[in-house]
């Protein structure tokens, strides 16, 4: 089991605190690097007030790379829609980051799920899946081939050298963000890693993981290598006292869930078969009586607890075939920075040793 951290870079209203949020996130990444976390991921989002101000994650990740020595940088995920990112620029920026980071790039791909973003760029919701499919097939070729030409559906280009080339050979590991059920199969068929970004139940994750591993055995890789890893998203707040951990963790989870739920999802306002679910990322805090208004409790599988509780949850994820867990550490700065850093340190001290290879 490997552990990563995952940044949305959410900024509380009145939306003037980006500097502090970015600095706090960089400090968390530096500490995670020192503590032995595997990857620091940053999402790409646009126009998502408060929820995520991570509109230029490649810049943030460059800063992470420059301030760390070992941790990998996860560009997760680049929106592969031409109105938002031209594929040539995607290839260039990713390769540049791989070179600058000394070959530490993990490269995630996505297509966006919100009308806020897709509508904001006036992209065609019906086309985003096809766009994404074209991107994941051409990007490895841009990175590998000395010169590249393309006549495609969403873009074309005459022969040119797309530069620089990535440091990793044949190219950085590629992933697909998985929110909607079924996308894990899209990932498997193309030989791409399954980057879970929506919290799923144990049973749902087990089903997805089983089907992913089954399907990837017969994949036709779009790149020069197969990435068959499965990662999931989780929420981390670790404290010696379970009660405090639950109380603070629920505040963090509730804030994230509210901000996420308030995005305007494409499925909600635009009739299309291209978006079959709302793609909410967070589980709602469980209700003790099962109804709105009842007292909340930590949903099963979330890492909001004391070290012992978290070890149990991670072992369960491990038992169903998850290779990596990426943790959100905060939402809209609802947890003070020192609490976040203390939580990371406690996790590294008390939880990580249970998952180190012998």
């Amino acid at each position: 089991m490997k552990f990563g951290i995952f940044f949305e870079l959410s900024v509380p209203r009145p939306l003037t605190g980006e500097r502090e949020v970015f600095e706090n996130a960089l400090a968390q990444a530096r500490l995670a690097d020192a503590l032995g976390f595997e990857t620091a991921w940053a999402v790409e989002h646009h126009f998502l007030e408060e929820y995520s101000h991570s509109s230029a994650p490649e810049l943030f990740l460059t800063a992470v790379a420059m301030q760390t020595r070992r941790i990998r940088v996860g560009h997760g995920a680049v929106v592969c829609v031409p109105e938002i990112n031209h594929p040539i620029r995607v290839a260039e920026r990713a390769a540049f980051l791989d070179v600058l980071s000394g070959g530490r790039l993990e490269f995630g791909t996505a297509r966006s799920s919100t009308w806020t973003e897709i509508g904001g760029f006036e992209a065609d919701p019906d086309a985003t899946k096809k766009d994404w499919d074209e991107y994941v097939r051409v990007l490895p070729r841009m990175w590998k081939e000395p010169r590249f030409a393309h006549q495609g559906r969403c873009f074309s280009m005459p022969e040119r050298a797309v530069l620089p080339k990535p440091l990793q050979r044949p190219h950085p590991p590629m992933w697909v963000t998985v929110t909607s059920p079924g996308t894990e199969l899209d990932a498997a068929e193309r030989g791409l890693g399954c980057l879970g970004v929506a919290a799923a139940s144990f049973a749902e994750q087990e089903r997805r993981t089983r089907e992913y591993h089954h399907r990837i055995r017969s994949c036709e890789p779009v790149g020069g290598t197969v990435n068959d890893r499965v990662s999931t998203l989780n929420f981390l707040y670790c404290h010696e006292e379970a009660k405090i951990a639950a109380e603070r963790g629920l505040r963090f989870l509730g804030t994230f869930a509210m901000l996420n739920a308030h995005l305007l999802f494409t499925r909600e306002v635009y009739p299309t078969s291209a978006y079959q679910s709302l793609a909410n990322l967070a589980p709602a805090p469980s209700r003790s009586g099962g109804a709105p208004g009842d007292a909340p409790r930590v949903p099963d599988g979330l890492c909001l607890g004391d070290p012992e509780q978290i070890v149990r949850a991670v072992k369960r994820w491990e038992s169903i075939g998850v290779d990596e867990i990426n943790f959100l550490l905060n939402a809209s700065e609802v947890l003070p920075q020192q609490q976040v850093l203390d939580s990371l340190q406690l996790f590294a001290r008390e939880v990580m040793p249970a998952f180190r290879p012998c």
């Binding site: 209203r13 009308w115 739920a261 305007l264 499925r267 909600e268 306002v269 299309t272 709302l278 709105p292």
Partner: protein
């Protein structure tokens, strides 16, 4: 986090009175539903919602115009103007105002599901190249919109959010959650065109539609459900939700 800022008591001047929470579901066998969605100017969007609800970004107004061929109260046509919003984590549409062309049906919809409706003339016309809805009162056009160039889509591609209808209820002023079940037999979508919208007539004076989002049309049975939840309008849904069914 953005939260509605409208005064519930001020909104209460226009709302229906719900008779009780124990009504039976009502299936309406053949309903045509035209829905248009437009983004509108965000300035003042919080003032369109009570404190229980949160606006979306961007803010979106939807209009539903329905033709119901048969019901226990006869055939009727219904038009609604709603603001897309969130109740806690759930997507909802806050009913600002509605109109109906059958007074008996209007009384029933108000008493059993909390719909606040005025009398109006409503036409829903289907042509080969467009589906048009026109709502007028006393010769004055209140709403004129259409779906242009309809093309078939799958029924499950069309998404309807539950309504939050502010109403006087036996528990006091409450948002009544109404989540109709659509059994779609046929669905189309097309280009949304808004020809005329008298916002003030829909109790939506701050709504200035700017950017078209979508237009859809469905045909099929719609079941108005038994009520399950209501919510106090003055506090967040996590605190104010109450089970009634």
């Amino acid at each position: 986090m953005l939260i509605g800022s409208a005064d519930p008591q001020a909104l209460a001047a226009h709302v229906a009175t719900l008779q009780g929470f124990d009504g039976e579901p009502q299936k309406l066998p053949c309903v045509e539903t035209l829905q248009l969605a437009f983004e509108f100017e965000s300035a003042g969007m919080e003032a369109l919602l009570p404190p229980a609800l949160h606006p979306t970004l961007p803010p979106v107004v939807t209009w539903l115009v329905q033709r119901v061929d048969s019901s226990p109260w006869g055939s009727f046509q219904l038009a609604q103007c709603r603001i897309e919003c969130r109740s806690g984590l759930r997507p909802r549409g806050f009913l600002r105002a509605g109109a109906i062309d059958n007074p008996e049906a209007g009384v029933q919809l108000a008493a059993r599901w909390g719909y606040s409706l005025r009398g109006a003339e409503i036409r829903l016309d289907r042509a080969y190249d467009r589906i048009r809805a026109l709502v007028s009162s006393g010769g004055r056009t209140l709403l004129d919109l259409e779906l242009r160039d309809p093309a078939p889509v799958r029924g499950e591609d069309v998404f309807y959010v539950a309504s939050m209808n502010l109403a006087h209820t036996p528990r006091g002023l409450r948002l009544v959650q109404v989540d109709p079940e659509f059994e779609v037999e046929r669905a189309e979508r097309g280009r949304p065109v808004l020809r005329h919208f008298e916002a003030a007539e829909w109790n939506a004076g701050g709504v200035r539609p700017r950017h078209p989002v979508s237009a859809s049309f469905t045909l099929g049975a719609v079941t108005l459900p038994a009520l399950r939840y209501v919510c106090r309008p003055d506090v967040l849904a996590f605190e104010g939700s109450e089970r009634v069914g």
